[in-house]
């Protein structure tokens, strides 16, 4: 059932990228743009496991880098999201899946994503990163991640449980 998993991962990541770039960026929300892509990666990792989380992170990061109007280095988002997907799948023990832990991992991931990507961009020679704004962006991103988390996790785990029950991490 590897194709079905791939289809689920591809659909969710593509949807997340499109919604984030065409809808969430244009809502004029103060602070960071709600990082739906990271939330989706975390949700996939929680529902399917670390490997699938890493793949989802890789695909969505690459899509985010390649999709217009992206003008950042291709691959930076991918590395970070691979790490997020994999680590989420590994550290969260399927036996204590409580809502606070799941929301906490989403908040941590979205906040850390901002910090790590800013750091990587700076290390790789980009002079666009304004470090004075980074803390506020990380905080707001974490906050929006927490808000998005319940809905996204519910939808993703429901779809995964229905379509590919063999990989669903209960």
């Amino acid at each position: 059932m590897i194709w079905r998993q791939a289809l689920i991962i591809g659909t969710f990541t593509l949807l997340a990228v499109l919604v984030e770039l065409t809808l969430l960026t244009r809502l004029g929300i103060p602070g960071a743009t709600p990082d739906l892509v990271v939330v989706t990666v975390v949700a996939i990792a929680l529902a399917m496991g670390p490997v699938q989380g890493a793949v989802a992170g890789f695909v969505s990061g690459l899509l985010l880098d390649l999709a217009p109007p992206g003008d950042t280095l291709v691959g930076v988002n991918a590395i970070v999201y691979v790490a997020i997907g994999f680590i989420t799948g590994v550290v969260v023990d399927p036996r204590d899946r409580t809502v606070p832990i799941m929301m906490g991992i989403v908040g941590l991931s979205t906040g850390a994503a901002v910090l790590v990507i800013s750091g990587l961009d700076t290390m790789l020679g980009s002079d666009r990163v304004d470090w004075e704004q980074v803390p506020a962006l990380a905080l707001t991103s974490a906050l929006y991640g927490l808000i998005l988390a319940p809905g996204v996790i519910l939808v993703v785990s429901w779809v995964v449980r229905k379509s590919t029950p063999e990989v669903f991490v209960a």
């Binding site: 990228v17 770039l21 065409t22 809502l27 004029g28 992170g57 999709a67 590395i79």
Partner: protein, 339 residues
């Protein structure tokens, strides 16, 4: 810790990402650039489709985000609006003032009057049946009793009483007012009396045989020493002639040039010109007899005598240079002020 498969997959993903980063860092054209362009094309198309789907929501979103600014914006705009409105009102008031002062300056410069500008600060109540106004210039400004008061259109009255800082002016339309008037051009003289109506005067000619026509303009005849009325000030225009030639008295109805109901800025003539400006102060656009003919500078007796051979014809008066003894003409009174 992890299975071999997991480790391989993870390594592949990380290495692939790093490869992309390095390829992108190198920059320039190449297969990677074209791959990127193709991906951008495909994803761009998808984004357009998604944007169409989401357009109602993004519209609402922009509405929501602009809501945050709108309160501020409304504040700013209403403050600005208030200040602009008050500026506009000031501007309109200023324009009126400028126009009034312009007219005054024209009268004053053409006729060489010296005047003190003043603003009307009070108007006598209509039920008093007296046409009086109060202006904000008084003895401290050099105003004395019986000075002529004008505005841009012409004579409006004379100073009745003065205080230190204000003066009371009785308008020419007041029933007690009588002004010595002269028909521009022919020089026929008479008394212009008020009848208590704001836009009407009565002109009683001294010479019952004199020729008066509708449209003739009247100027002040001038009193001794310029008081109460300085010479040459435009009074009004004949609108109706009553009685025929040969009657004991002839009376004409005259409409004053100045609109007595709309007085704002007036000038009080403190010093009349050294020489009678004759008809030169009259508004140029008015009807007959107002063309500043080179009328001879003569006394009233001569003026009536002159009228007999050429009764009322401005054209007849014009080609008689012999009657202008010293070449002093009303058309150029300004230049003759120098001794």
């Amino acid at each position: 810790m992890f299975s071999r498969r997991t480790r391989i997959l993870l390594s592949v993903l990380v290495v692939a990402s790093l490869t992309f980063v390095i390829l992108d860092l190198r920059g320039g054209e190449g297969p990677f650039a074209s791959v990127r362009a193709v991906a951008a094309n495909v994803l761009g198309g998808l984004e357009r489709a998604a944007a169409t789907v989401f357009s109602p929501i993004t519209g609402a979103g922009s509405w929501w985000s602009s809501m945050r600014d709108q309160a501020n914006q409304i504040d700013t705009l209403s403050t600005e609006n208030e200040s602009l409105r008050s500026q506009l009102e000031t501007l309109q008031a200023d324009r009126t003032r400028v126009a009034a002062l312009d007219g005054l300056l024209r009268v004053a410069s053409v006729g060489q009057y010296r005047f003190v500008p003043a603003e009307v600060i009070a108007i006598g109540p209509t039920q008093d049946f007296s046409w009086t106004i109060t202006v904000d210039a008084g003895r401290n400004d050099g105003i004395e009793q019986d000075m002529s008061v004008i505005n841009g259109a012409g004579l409006i009255g004379r100073v009745l009483k003065t205080t230190a800082d204000t003066s009371t002016v009785v308008l020419i339309v007041d029933q007690g007012s009588a002004v010595g008037g002269r028909i521009a051009g022919t020089g026929e003289i008479g008394i212009v009396a008020g009848v208590g109506v704001q836009d009407e005067l009565e002109f009683e000619l001294l010479d019952p045989l004199a020729d008066v026509r509708v449209g003739d303009a009247l100027v002040t005849f001038g009193s001794k020493g310029g008081r109460p009325y300085a010479p040459g000030l435009p009074i009004g225009e004949v609108i109706e002639v009553r009685g025929t030639g040969g009657q004991l008295t002839r009376v004409a109805r005259v409409r004053p040039f100045a609109d007595m109901s709309q007085l704002s800025i007036v000038g009080i003539v403190t010093k009349p010109p050294r020489e009678d400006p004759r008809d030169s102060v009259l508004p140029k656009s008015e009807g007959l007899g107002i063309v500043p003919t080179p009328a001879p500078l003569v006394g009233p007796e001569d003026a009536t005598a002159d009228a007999e051979p050429a009764p009322g014809q401005e054209s007849a008066a014009t080609p008689e240079p012999g009657t202008a003894p010293e070449g002093e003409t009303a058309a150029v009174p300004v230049d003759e002020a120098a001794p």
